[in-house]
Symmetry: C2
Subunit: 206 residues, 2 copies
């Protein structure tokens, strides 16, 4: 256990933190340069300080570097995205088709994030009536990863236009691992404090 | 759209942020003093800068002040917790029974957080194959709320030993709102950089 005193966070820190939240984007446009050695490991260590139900720490991070695996996942995205497009009509379909919804070809780092439904850590505490708490714990960790990455100038994009079971199988992950996210990670082409979907008029369009 | 330049987060900020993550706890022991006026609103505004699928912003925050409603929710906790206790035996059951798993009587502020499954905002983008992304968006916002609160010296405890539908009905929330979290919010009795469950030996115990 630590013997250091609790930190006091001053107004300067609070106001910088507010800026961090304002400038954290879901990034789909990446530069291709690789990330510095050790950076992703450091960001994941920060993510793992996240709250988890019963201290279960059910997050499992799979850094996908194999080109064939990446291509299989991207193929699944393309199929799901074409299918999603068919739900829209007219002007909204044209707008949807124009959106860039992933950066899977450009992002140097791609991480499949799973929740280990087979873990015994935590001994089930806090998730008998709300078993979904295990998945939520992974989402909290991803949120912390996202913020830590932005501090380092790194963009993160969460791709959800995927079939979780297809991705899991493509990566050879165990059946009791549930896919929570596919993260594209890299240097962003640009920074903004306005979400790309807002800039594209997705909500305001008809 | 903003015309300000992107912020640069320096090493000092990054190291303070790491401290924030290390000292963010799931709090169950609160002092009873009320929070300053306007603080919760300010924290919620920061939470709402969170990423959400398709920019759907499906979070709905219900600040519960009515004593009868609070008591109904606490009664549900007690029933669920007694039921959970029956899953453990021997030393672990004794340890479980000794844990303080909520601060519902002491925390001055209690917030039921819902996901609005009826929202049309976002036009379904990003959640056709992973409809759970809507719930995940609310979890991300709660995570940001939690960190923002800790910066202000405020503790948050997420109570999940509850039946979501019972809580929703006790609060009169619409049927298409799914309960994601019950948050106890207030000044913590103490600070630590070690989770309370770890201090209690929950994981290491037999």
């Amino acid at each position: 256990m630590s013997e250091t005193s609790p930190p006091i966070f001053d107004d300067t820190f609070a106001s910088r933190f507010a800026e961090l939240l304002a400038w954290r984007r879901d990034v789909r446009r990446f530069r291709r340069e690789p990330l510095p050695d050790g950076l992703v490991e450091a960001l994941l260590a920060q993510a793992e300080l996240s709250p988890s139900v019963g201290h279960s720490q059910p997050w499992r991070w799979l850094r996908v570097t194999d080109a064939a695996q990446r291509e299989a996942v991207r193929a699944n995205f393309k199929r799901c995205n074409a299918d999603a497009l068919r739900d829209y009509e007219g002007e909204r379909a044209r707008l949807y088709a124009s959106l860039k919804l992933e950066g899977m070809r450009e992002a140097p780092e791609q991480i499949a994030v799973f929740c280990d439904h087979g873990t015994s850590q935590g001994h089930g505490l806090g998730r008998k009536t709300m078993p979904e708490m295990l998945d939520y714990s992974v989402v909290a960790a991803i949120t912390q990863f996202w913020l830590a990455a932005r501090i380092a100038g790194i963009g993160v994009g969460w791709v959800s236009i995927l079939e979780p079971d297809v991705v899991r199988e493509a990566l050879g992950a165990p059946p009791h691992w549930k896919l929570i996210a596919w993260l594209c990670v890299g240097w962003p082409e640009a920074e903004s404090d306005v979400p790309e979907l807002v800039r594209a008029g997705w909500e305001s369009g008809r």
